[in-house]
Amino acid sequence: MAVNAGDTAWILASAALVMLMTPGVALFYGGMVRRKNVLSTIMMSFACLGLVGLLWVLYGYSLSFGADNGGFIGGLNFAGLMGVGQEPSSVYASTVPHLAFMIFQAMFAVITIALITGAVVERVKFSALLIFSALWLTVVYCPVAHWVWGDGGWLASLGALDFAGGAVVHINAGVSALALVLLLGKRRGFPGEAMEPNNIPMVVLGAGLLWFGWFGFNAGSSLASDGLAASAFVATNTAAAAAAFTWMIVSWFHRRPTVLGTVTGAVAGLVAITPAAGFVPPLAAIPIGMAAAIICYYSMVLLKTKLGFDDSLDVFAVHGMGGIWGALATGIFASLAVNSAGADGLIYGGGITLLKQMAGIAAVGAYAFVVTWVLGKLVDITMGLRVGQREETVGLDISQHGERAYGGLLR
């Protein structure tokens, strides 16, 4: 098929929108840590733009979207962008240049790794995190992206639905974050010492950029400038609104309507609508978003307060649990009337869709957990995942990067 100007414009704009989400995550996370770790936290996300941006064009895209090998992983036929040019691909996004589809997908890989870092901030060794990230992209992200979105991927063939990355991005990142937390252990002083966020306005700015960028993430995943993109756009905004509002009320119920909670709610809603955005009617985003806020809120209570896991910035509670709920919700609310390439969910008589979603959750969750644990262990044995006690106490900004966020006495 020929290149369509409208579709191409929208996909390129969407790629740029999704790119902006990674600095968004950097600020979102950066504001939540203690003052001595704000730069290191920002760097963990921003460095992904460099690292993954390179690896993706060299071989990451190919392992994800190259010629299928047993439904498990792509081949190396697109390595170094070989054969990825200005003409559309024969199988993906047939109305936009193959290069546009490739770079749109690149941004998803970048942000997925950035999301994971929220679990390990304030104690992970930067060099070890970089090595881990390169390994994780290769051995976890690329195969899982291939399963779900690759031509011939086994979950795609099974009929598991994932519009914009509920499984590939969020369950994948959330579960991997949990595995790393178990390997790495708690921050020194957790949970006894109060670890106060250094800059909540920065968190709000980051959440705002995420919400904005998410329109590219979800509506862009229509891969065309069409009605489905508009439907996904409205579903995305509605879910974020419902979840932000619900989280605010839940927080109020427990004491006060906090700003940190409300913006976290928005992100939880955006996570949950991600797999569903282009398969469900826009109004289904209301129950999806509301439930996301409640599920993620009480997951945080359970994991952090009751079980004592130091998933520092709640990556599993928001992305893991939000992603799992989103995948299930897709199996409940999906409708062929919205997207003929999708399926009917449980409420439209398609109970089998829900079962397929569960299979997808189990497969991605189990694979991500086990392989991440092995990779993390490997890095830990060879170079050590964690900084030394003194480096942690001084803070990672100075010990890892030789910088500090807020300058000295002279103004």
């Binding site: 109060a194 106060e196 927080s251 427990h254 004491r255 006060r256 906090t258 940190l260 909670g261 976290t264 809120y297 945080m300 209570v301 952090k304 307060t305 709640d314």
Partner: protein
Amino acid sequence: MKKIEAIIREERLDAVKKALEENSYFGMTVSEVSGRGKQKGIPLQWRVGEYRVDLLPKLKIELVVLDEDVPAAIDAIVRNARTGETGDGKIFVLPVENVVRVRTGDRDENAI
């Protein structure tokens, strides 16, 4: 000569400053400090749960006055910094050995 160090509530600074100025004590140094006392702290919320901040922000005013001026200065501070609730602060009075005005080299009483 005595140095008066007064820890007060942030929102009482303007009133205290004005009262001191009316008693012709113009010079002072003010800094932001954190501290704790009978007020015990305040609860703040995370995303979930809450935590107690027991070091609360206060302001510290430092001024040096002649011995005979100490009661009037303390009175001006107390009258204007007091709300009657815990957390109103404390005043410390310390002896001062020497004072030097950097610009002129003036000493002691001439430098206050």
